[in-house]
């Protein structure tokens, strides 16, 4: 026997405590008979250290509990020959059920359950077995047990999931299950052997723990499937295009139905070639305001219902006027940003360009947001108007162009220009690039390629404590920062929006950056409405912080971790996001990788099984190889059981003593 943590034996010193406590007594051992207590007065009872120990049995139990506790922490273990625990021929059978989405096809799952029951029925009397379900996560359905009834119950209760399964990842997860096995292991994998689930490297299919691998394929010949592979729609025109793919060797005629918000709009017949694709363009839909539920379904359905329907959420794009305030008489400084906005069809932005002096003629509340191309062009009254607009909930993007250089502080936000304002980097060879970028900010989604842009000049300002710097140059000077003012927000861009001071407008990243900023200033109106199954939805990333998410069943979706706003999308259907009085939809569809029912051939399965054959001979013989080292068998369980018994006895006997004392007191 050995101790894995012998230092914990120092805990045995604690035994002195009960010994001392058991000598403590409130009974004064110095007893004296006296004629009468008539004139005596009780003094303060004092606890004295008696010469003799009291309650010896209780003391023994308490010492035992402490000793066992110290021993348990010291982790005693016995060196044992592997496999010697339950007899020489006993084996551990780990039965892994492939619970990927493709297992729900037809009666595959029932066949998988039957195969599992067959394995259980063939176990030797001494064998132990454990049932595991492999899906997105590996779930232990039972512990290692000899109880066949428990295993059968586990098989009956198991259900296929909706996720894609990669066999390589499954084997890594199963390695964790096999680790520490005291018996020779036989790993049974009951699967449909989906070809698409094979990892890139075949070697990843090998279990790293010694085990005999038996792959039980439950796939049958001639299984056919058709799936709606894609569904896209235009928020501007309402046009919808669906693509159907065949995973079958026979041609088929099917109908594709289009539904809008639960109402069937259209149905098209289509002929699908074996292994081919068929695309259907539906006419323009009459989208209602807000988010619309669009779905297409194949009829008649096949044996895999999950991929016969595909959904998408379309939010009708309402034209949103945006006020661009130019500081240039010829409006050149707004040229690039206006063009970028017009190209963002999904956002349906309508730029309205005015000179700074004409700002007073406009009702700012009518605009989605305001862009000031050069803050230096603003007069006092214009600044005041914009300040009122932002304070009442408006959104403003303000660039500090060439005309701002004459000012000492940034209008509205008030940051001071640094001395020698206008970081001037000289000619083409002397410029600054983007240094740091807050990639988590919703305004910068898709704008990670900003580093290619060159900034020849910028207005160097000092960020205040209340500013959030979204982009800074490699000189450390802020390039884009955000500040909340009243109910609204202001984004300050410290360079020009045209090519005067930088080449950003001609970089490919300019349009995505404008889209991100516009989306952010509009309150996150245009985030992508389709997410893949098993992904997470981060509300913060889409600018909907504080919203509540409801899953397709209508139940509130809980965050992944306590207080987190990230929600795991693990159901197929529409997730509803309620935020700020608006409801957005996120469509989650069946993983198309599970639709392909092509299975690996028998030769591949043989090769796979051979990966686990390293110890097969040993396992079959039930004998141990000479080079196999003895394993440490923990005695913790035994000690904990004895400890539990000792604690129960100690409580019982201690309670008896308490009862006696209460009786005396009465």
């Amino acid at each position: 026997m050995t101790l894995l943590a012998p230092l914990f034996l120092l805990g045995l010193l604690a035994i002195g405590l009960p010994i001392w406590l058991h000598r403590l007594s409130s009974e004064n051992p110095n007893r004296k008979p006296f004629s009468s207590l008539m004139f005596l007065e009780a003094g303060e009872p004092r606890r004295v250290l008696a010469k003799n120990l009291q309650y010896l049995l209780l003391l023994a139990l308490r010492i035992g509990v402490l000793a066992l506790l110290a021993l348990a922490f010291a982790q005693p273990a016995l060196w044992r020959e592997p496999g010697a625990v339950a007899g020489g021929t006993a084996q551990l059978h780990v039965i892994v059920l492939d619970a990927s989405a493709s297992m729900s096809y037809g009666d595959r799952w029932e066949r998988a359950q039957d195969a599992a029951l067959d394995v259980i029925g063939s176990l030797a009397p001494d064998d132990r077995a454990q049932l595991v379900a492999g899906g997105r996560v590996t779930e232990l359905l039972t512990g290692r047990t000899v109880d066949r009834a428990v295993l059968r119950q586990g098989v009956a209760a198991a259900r296929p999931g909706v996720f894609f399964l990669d066999f390589g990842q499954l084997m890594r997860a199963v390695d964790g299950v096999l680790r520490g096995a005291e018996l020779p292991v036989v790993l049974h994998l009951i699967t449909d052997g989906q070809e698409g689930a094979l990892p890139t490297r075949f070697a990843e299919l090998a279990p790293t723990e010694p085990a005999e691998l038996r792959v039980h394929s439950i796939a049958t010949e001639g299984e056919a499937n058709w799936a709606v592979e894609s569904l896209v729609g235009s928020t501007l025109t309402g046009e919808v295009q669906a693509s159907v793919r065949s995973f079958s060797s026979t041609p088929v005629d099917k109908a594709l139905s289009l539904e809008l918000n639960g109402r069937q709009i259209d149905q098209r017949r289509l002929e699908i070639e074996p292994g081919g694709r068929a695309t259907v363009n539906f006419g323009a839909l009459e989208l209602a305001s807000g988010a619309n539920r669009v779905s297409v379904s194949l009829t008649p359905g096949d044996d895999m219902a999950g991929d016969d329907t595909r959904i998408i959420a379309l939010k009708r794009a309402e034209p949103r006027p945006v006020l661009l305030v130019s500081g240039d008489l010829r409006m050149r400084d707004t040229l690039f940003i206006a063009s970028a906005m017009e190209s963002l069809a999904a956002l349906a932005l309508v730029p309205d360009i005015v000179a700074a002096a004409e700002l007073g003629d406009r009702t700012l509340a009518d605009y989605g947001f305001v862009v000031v191309a050069d803050a230096g062009a603003l007069g006092e009254s214009q600044v005041q108007r914009l300040e009122d607009y932002v304070a009442s909930g408006g959104a403003l993007l303000m660039a500090l162009g060439p005309r701002s250089a004459a000012q000492s502080a940034v209008p509205l936000t008030g940051q001071q220009f640094e001395s020698g304002s206008g970081g001037f980097f000289g000619g083409d060879d002397d410029y600054a690039a983007v240094g740091a970028l807050d990639a988590t900010h919703p305004a910068l989604q898709g704008a990670q390629l900003l580093r290619a842009a060159r900034f020849f000049r910028h207005s160097a300002i000092e960020a205040a404590d209340e500013d959030r710097v979204l982009i800074s140059l490699d000189t450390g000077s802020p390039l884009l920062l955000e500040r909340g003012l009243g109910s609204g927000r202001v984004l300050v861009f410290t360079s020009s929006l045209d090519r005067e001071w930088n080449d950003l407008p001609v970089q490919p990243v300019f349009v995505p950056l404008v889209a991100g900023i516009a989306n952010h200033l509009l309150g996150g109106a245009g985030f992508s409405s389709e997410r893949s199954l098993g992904s997470t939805l981060a509300l913060r990333a889409v600018g909907l912080l504080g919203g509540q998410i409801f899953d397709p069943a209508g139940d509130p979706a809980l965050g992944l971790v306590g207080g987190s706003d990230d929600v795991l999308l693990d159901q197929i259907g529409f997730y509803e996001i309620a935020s700020g009085g608006n409801t957005d939809l996120v469509a989650v569809n069946f993983d198309i990788r599970e639709s392909d029912l092509a299975t690996v051939d028998a030769a591949t399965i043989d090769r796979w099984e051979s990966l686990g054959q390293r110890d097969a001979g040993q396992v079959a013989a039930g004998a141990l190889p000479e080079d196999r080292e003895p394993v440490l068998a923990s005695m913790a369980q035994l000690i904990l059981i004895v400890l539990l018994v000792a604690v129960i006895l100690e409580s019982w006997i201690g309670n008896q003593h308490l009862t006696v004392r209460r009786g005396m007191a009465e």
Partner: protein, 302 residues
Amino acid sequence: MAARAGAAPKDLLMPEVLASLSNLDLVARAVAEGFLTGLHRSPFFGFSQEFAEYRAYAEGDDPRFVDWNVYARTERTYIKRYIGETNTHLVLLLDSSASMAYGTGSVSKLQYGKFLAATLAFLAGRQHDAVGLIVFDEDVREYRPPSSRAGHLHGVFHAIDRAEPGAGTDIDAPFERFREFEKGRGLVAVISDFYCDPDALLKGVQPLAYQGQDVILFQLLDPEELDPQLRESAMFEDMETQETMEVSPIFMRSRYRERIDAHVDALKQAAVGVGADHTLVNIAAPLNEALKDYLTFRQRRG
């Protein structure tokens, strides 16, 4: 007797010496002889009619006691001495409650009380007084009506000797029994540690005083009860009720002494109030003082 063999009378009267004597009769006789020898010049002689001895006259002696007949024959002045003889009766009330079993020295309070009772009985018998006995605890355990018949005294000794520590104390019980049977005048000696309410004692003694009984109370206490020397706190157990109490040495050195002194004073006052005598007896001391008090009491009551 031992006194005549040369032992100092005071030593002979020490309780530890008496305890070594097996026979209570012998104890009583030894105490009485030793005590009377020690009272050689005491004023207690002469209150009875029985001749005791002659002694040469010494300055200060009462000339009334000079035997003039002897003077006529010998021309020497001798004092004629008598042993007291009152022809009265003495009833002894001996407390044999459990608390009387207490004693830290060689004898317990009960043993001491037995010596004292036997000695008093012997002295009374010597004067031909009728001697009665009541042994009591919370009830009357033994009752011997007063008698001066020959052999009665031995019966009294035997009854005293038989007394064993009993239960609690009920001071009313012996007085009630006494009142039932004793109507005439006489002497009543109560030997007890008097762990009772002084008022209760007063109630018991008062009717006797009204009857014309002369009552003397011998309160026997152990030195540890009078002057406890407790060094560390102890669990005291009441010998009568078996109740226990944790007591600190500080209390025993201060408050307890005040209380026991107050109790003794209260008993004394109660006794004085009804015309009785009260004598506090330390059972570590020889019996002399108690007997002296008794004789003084007798002399006073004539």
